[in-house]
């Protein structure tokens, strides 16, 4: 799981099944030790209500879908898991590095 900064939001009205009512955010992955950008920005689906400028951690690949399984959305009807490949899992409050390499 990687650290990232929320740099924007992506709006898309015509999209695939299961993607409706999900917030998609543009995030810039950061290195855990230096907090410097690492790699290209990407679009991730939000699970925690992160906002612009916040530092978050996210999971990529198949596990991102697991973040949404049995997700009910804002309505009570059961929804299909969305086809996402990155999911924001938490907002980072702080971190401490004990060993410097």
């Amino acid at each position: 799981m990687k650290q990232a900064k929320v740099i924007g939001r992506v709006f898309c009205s015509r999209q695939c099944c299961g993607m409706d009512r999900k917030t998609t955010l543009l995030i810039q992955p950061l290195d855990w030790e230096t907090d410097k950008p690492s790699g290209d920005p990407l679009v991730a689906a939000d699970t925690v209500g992160a906002g612009a400028g916040e530092t978050v951690f996210f999971v990529a690949a198949r596990e991102a879908i697991a973040a949404f399984e049995d997700w009910d959305g804002e309505t009570s009807s059961r929804t299909e898991p969305p086809p996402v490949d990155a999911a924001i899992l938490g907002i980072i409050d702080g971190k401490k590095l004990y060993v410097h390499s």
Binding site: M1, E63, L89, I91
Partner: protein, 98 residues
């Protein structure tokens, strides 16, 4: 799986419901021969083996196994600390021991 050193920890109040109460550790892969650290550090969940900062640990980086270790089939994670290392031998030489 890879061997790594716990280099720090992260705290987050607001996180995915399946991660409630989870201990978040920063790990960085260790060079098998020398004990130096290589690659990019990554966030891993503690699998319940009491790993702390500075410990050499075994890390699994695959979702299915990660969920099995945590005993939670819904947990959206792929990197989990699955053991604390006692000793590593390379070509018959002990390169790391507790």
């Amino acid at each position: 799986m890879f061997i790594a050193k716990v280099i720090g920890n992260v705290w987050a109040d607001r996180k995915h419901r399946e991660l409630a109460g989870a201990k978040l550790l920063l790990v960085k892969a260790m060079e098998p021969g020398g004990g130096g650290l290589v690659g990019e550090s990554t966030l891993a969940l503690d699998g319940g083996f009491g790993a702390g900062p500075g410990d050499a640990v075994l890390v699994v980086d695959e979702g299915g196994s990660a969920r099995k270790i945590l005993g939670n089939p819904k947990c959206p994670v792929r990197t989990v600390v699955c053991g604390v290392l006692d000793k590593v031998q390379v070509h018959g030489k002990t390169v790391l021991s507790r």
